[in-house]
């Protein structure tokens, strides 16, 4: 394979992006804007686009998902190609992308719950938040059933995902009006919802990770009595910490007659071990604020303590590369980059991925202008990929058939009924396109 002088091309002709989550889509937007004549393809292993916007963001936060309309536009007007059902590592190799594209950007994310590593952490009744998120968001490939949840629940963690969990535990069916929640999964839980919830945070309120808006939102749900215990208060110069404290004080001050459910937050609590023989019976705290019990009787423990930076399998397509999180640079080698959660590690919301995508796009542009990219004579872009993989690809128009089918199938009060398995998605496309 002969490398030709990059100066023969003023611009890259073919750009591949692996992953259609926000970081991949923002990168595609930025590069397409810079080089409108380049072929930009966004690959995804799933048949549907948008990664965790569709499959992570809570179903009762449809407004957050509205951001996909930006991306819809770049795909719909033909500026950027979507190629779903094309998994790098199985359907095509990274080397095949490298051979056919001047620039390859890896945006495949990393998302697997960090496991609770205390004694008893593997007992039945211990649930990772991801399994609940997967079930409520109808994640396919594979579909994950809604875990059993009992009446007395301990949530470990107090970041935004933990608060997503608390909202889910205390909301009623009516609160999902206009959402795309997986109704069967929700219904399973709502048949016997929790009545007593304890939320444990290692840090005091001032240092907890939850957004103030997320805390305030809890207060809008009817029939819930909130209380909390805290260790050290925020210092005077910690404006954000004080706002969060105020939000918790307001929650606890809400008057509720005959609450359906009680939620108690304990800040500065360290889980020590989970007790139980066949199933979770109690969680023992190693440290707790004064006056708080050190044993919490419960039947379910939900952990939401962040994501595993080194989750195996996330980059099985490139095991020779080092994917240690890094903020500084997206460049892996000339013509090969990474962006978003795959680059920075699994933290930060969608806007942070936009900022990162713009940074990496700038880096790519600077590299191209300095002739540091991977231009080959024989690079043919999408056309150069194996015919078999291309024949199975789901295009953006194909995805719209899935989209329409999901919207058509929505139950009353829902905006869509997501198809939960990959094969049915593909069959839906086939049925619509061979008519």
């Amino acid at each position: 394979m002969s490398e030709i002088l990059a100066t023969d091309h003023a611009a890259p002709r073919h750009i591949a992006i692996v992953g259609s989550g926000p970081s991949g889509c923002f990168t595609a937007q930025a590069l397409h804007r810079k080089w409108p004549n380049a072929e930009v393809t966004v690959f995804d292993r799933l048949a549907v686009p948008y990664g965790l916007i569709r499959y992570g963001v809570a179903a009762d936060h449809q407004h957050t998902k509205a951001i996909t309309r930006q991306f819809d536009r770049s795909f719909a007007d033909g500026g950027v190609r979507f190629a779903g059902n094309m998994e790098v590592g199985t359907d095509l190799g990274l080397d095949q992308l490298r051979q056919n594209y001047d620039i390859v950007v890896l945006a495949s994310g990393r998302w697997r719950d960090r496991a609770l590593s205390i004694p008893g952490g593997k007992l039945p009744g211990v649930v990772v938040s991801g399994d609940i998120v997967n079930a409520l968001n109808a994640v396919p490939r594979p579909a994950i059933p809604m875990p059993r949840i009992g009446r007395r629940v301990v949530v470990v963690g107090a970041g935004n995902v933990a608060l997503d969990m608390v909202r889910f535990l205390i909301k009623t069916d009516a609160d999902y009006e206009g959402s795309d929640v997986a109704s069967a999964a929700l219904q399973q839980y709502l048949e016997a919802p929790a009545t007593e919830i304890t939320v444990l945070s290692r840090s005091p309120i001032a240092a907890a990770k939850a957004d103030v808006a997320m805390v305030k939102e809890l207060g809008k749900i009817d029939g819930v009595k909130f209380s909390y215990a805290n260790t050290s208060p925020a210092t005077d110069d910690n404006a954000l910490g004080r706002k969060r404290e105020e939000a918790f004080a307001q929650l606890a001050a809400l008057e509720v007659d005959n609450p359906r459910v009680r939620v108690h937050f304990i800040f500065g609590a360290e889980p020590g071990r989970i007790r139980g023989t066949e199933h979770v019976e109690a969680l023992h705290l190693q440290a707790a604020p004064a006056g708080e019990p050190s044993v919490l009787e419960c039947d379910t423990v939900i952990s939401a303590i962040g994501f595993d930076v080194n989750a195996p399998g996330q980059w099985h397509y490139a095991q020779h590369l080092d994917f240690t999180p890094a903020d500084a640079t997206g460049r892996i080698e000339d013509g090969l980059y990474r962006v978003g959660w795959l680059k920075r590690g699994p933290h930060g919301a969608i806007p942070a991925n936009r900022a990162d995508a713009n940074e990496v796009a700038k880096e790519i542009i600077a590299d191209v202008e300095a002739d540091r990219f991977h231009a080959h004579e024989e690079a043919r872009g999408y056309e150069g990929l194996p015919e078999r993989a291309r024949a199975n690809a789901v295009s953006f128009d194909d995805w719209r058939h899935i989209d329409e089918a999901e919207v058509r199938a929505a139950e009353p009060g829902r905006i869509r009924h997501k198809i939960t398995d990959h094969d049915t998605m593909l069959a839906t496309v086939r049925a619509a396109t061979t008519k």
Partner: protein
């Protein structure tokens, strides 16, 4: 007269609107330019140009990230903007009941304080409405340009 389109954004909606406004203006034969507020200085505001500002809301009714550095400078800016005309398009989400669409209002207040005049209706987009941001903005634009043409 040049029309300067400025945007402040966090998740890119305002940027897209600003670019669409700029494209439309150029199609219609106007001379126009577009800047991210983070790449723009208060000193360069002039009465010779007309400004269209597109800005979202983040945090609790606050400005989005790319507008913050500009706003810091704008707060301290001591120039006189008398004779400067501008239009404002704010983005927000009625989901945030108490702070709906307040981000752009911080900029609006400061423009007014410095003597500038807002032209036309205050545009708004609500993310919970599920309307396409650019559709709403492009519908709003002719009214603003009409008001600007009448006023100048």
């Amino acid at each position: 007269m040049t029309i300067t389109v400025l945007y402040g954004t966090e998740s890119g909606n305002s940027e897209l609107i600003a670019q669409d406004i700029n494209d439309r203006l150029q199609q219609d034969g106007h001379e126009s330019e577009v800047f991210d507020l983070q790449d723009f200085e208060p000193e360069s505001i002039t009465a010779d140009n007309f400004y269209i500002i597109v800005c979202s809301t983040h945090g609790e009714g606050e400005l989005p990230n790319t507008a913050l550095p500009f706003f810091e400078k704008f707060k301290d800016f001591a120039g006189d903007l008398t004779g400067v005309r501008y239009a404002m398009f704010g983005l927000g989400d009625t989901f945030y009941e108490e702070t709906y669409s307040q981000g752009s209002e911080h900029l609006d207040r400061r423009f007014t304080e410095l003597g500038a005049t807002r032209v036309g209706d205050y545009g708004r987009h609500d993310a919970s409405s599920w309307d396409l941001p650019s559709d709403v903005a492009l519908e709003w634009l002719p009214g603003v340009l009409g008001a600007e043409a009448k006023g100048s």
